[in-house]
Amino acid sequence: MNEITGIRSAGIDNTFYLIAGEEELLATRTSFRQDAEEFEGNFYRLWSPVTSKLSSMIIKNMKIPLRRTSRVLYLGAASGTTVTHVSDIVSDGVVFAVEFAARPARDLLTAIEPRTNVIPIIADARYPEKYPPFIDRVDFLYQDVAQPDQAAIAVANAEKYLQKGGHIVIAIKARSISITEDPKAIFQREIDTLSSKFKVLETVSLEPLHKDHLAVLCRY
């Protein structure tokens, strides 16, 4: 990486573009120095849109209403790459990170070990009523699960934990729903399901970095 020569806000708390040569690189300000870049006395962790759909959404200028104090329910935490950036962003908030697959969950625990604002929950996102009882309420629901019934999962979790007026950001993966059906038709059906409970504010395709993925922002 070239030397960092400047910085500008990415429009979200603790989230910036680092200017390095001709590139602008998304990053989160962090209190964890490991793998972090220092610039003017602060530390920043680069956040690649290749491995993170949320990073991709921010770079595509979606208005993601995450704040320093947000209380986030994160479904599909996987091995924690994106979760740690959300943890950086909500420096005065909390992330309830739900993952069910044992193997990535092990990596998740390692990644969030020092981050007290991440609460791991090993459970199936399809059955929010069965989560261990850590979550009181959240104002932001982020979801990235590779399951067929993605919109229904978002609705079920929102109904149980999301405050009225809270936001939902969901990365819909068409190929997790059907590998034969036309992605457009799938997206439309999922958006219809979301619309039945939420107000859909914005939809953005994540192509070309994330093939057949659509990001949807809603308000509850």
């Binding site: 044992a102 609460i119 850590f134």
Partner: protein, 297 residues
């Protein structure tokens, strides 16, 4: 009503403990009956004296959740182990049943078609395509006979199909639980070793020598009792690189593969990293075979 740190009794909140360990023991079992309204667990915890600040609340919840998560992951992985053990046993049962049924079917078919020799799958296909009224070269067939043989053949087919499904399930389990062992030995052989050892963690604790002879069974006991030559290979002998190797190389090959399998099992059990031990095994096998050839000029 209960939350992760305790439950509401008639006269206020009853705290389940003060350390993350005590709280995790409670939270793991607690039903998720979230209080109605817009609850604020932090407020309740501070009021109940569990902690004195929001930061302290967060740390305690984090530490507790980490413990709950770890024990849940442990349970999931040992359930996977148990399912692998069960499904390998199921696979063997299905395998035996399929062999029995298809042997029986071949014999039954043979009294009507004594001239046709075929493999079980071909015989199943032939039986399923029999049409009523066919006059076989052997014993005559009524429509009822055909229906009876076809019912039996369908069971044989169901057993055959189930064998494939179980194999795929075992492969998926192995890919989740022990990808490295799967890579070195193939998923079915790897699963068989896990099943014999009684779980991945137990397998990971065994020395390479034990893994090499695991499943040798009778031959090993005979070696101990009667001093016959030590068996060179147990289940591992089924590995194509060993069974396919020249006889003189099989001992070395099975030692090498058992060694790599031991490492793979340990990585799977303790770190969970995905290494590329498969290439390593292939490279070592090539060297072993090469070492037996004339050295290059």
């Amino acid at each position: 009503m209960n939350v992760w740190f305790g439950e509401e009794a008639g006269d206020g909140w009853k705290i389940a403990g003060t350390t993350p360990e005590e709280l995790a023991a409670y939270a793991s079992r607690a039903e998720s009956t979230r209080p109605t309204g817009s609850p604020d667990f932090e407020r309740i915890a501070i009021d109940a004296g569990l902690c004195s600040s929001p930061a302290e609340y967060l740390r305690l919840m984090h530490d507790t959740a980490m413990l709950v998560a770890r024990s849940r992951i442990q349970a999931l992985l040992s359930a996977r182990d148990a399912d692998i053990v069960q499904s390998i046993k199921a696979l063997d049962t299905i395998h035996d049943a399929y062999n029995e049924v298809s042997e029986r079917l071949t014999e039954w078919y043979g009294i009507h078609y004594p001239d046709r020799k075929a493999r079980p799958q071909e015989i199943i296909t032939s039986i399923l395509s029999l049409a009523p009224g066919e006059v076989p070269p052997g014993a005559p067939l009524t429509a009822g006979d055909i229906a009876a043989m076809q019912g039996f053949a369908k069971v044989a087919q169901a057993l055959f199909d189930e064998r494939k499904s179980l194999e795929q399930y075992i492969m998926a389990c192995m890919d989740e639980v022990a990808p490295n062992l799967s890579d070195v030995l193939g998923p079915l052989l790897g699963a068989r070793l896990i099943a014999r050892a009684g779980g991945l963690e137990r397998l990971a604790k065994l020395p390479a020598g034990s893994i090499q002879v695991m499943g040798a069974g009778e031959a090993l006991f005979k070696h101990i009792r009667e001093g016959t030559p030590s068996p060179k290979h147990g289940f591992i002998y089924r590995h194509p690189m060993i069974s396919g190797a020249p006889k003189r190389l099989r001992g070395k090959m099975s030692r090498m593969i058992a060694g790599r399998a031991t490492i793979a099992a340990r990585v799977d059990a303790y770190s969970g990293e995905r290494l590329d031990l498969g290439s390593d095994v292939r490279a070592r096998a090539t060297r072993l075979r090469g070492g037996q050839r004339r050295p290059k000029a």
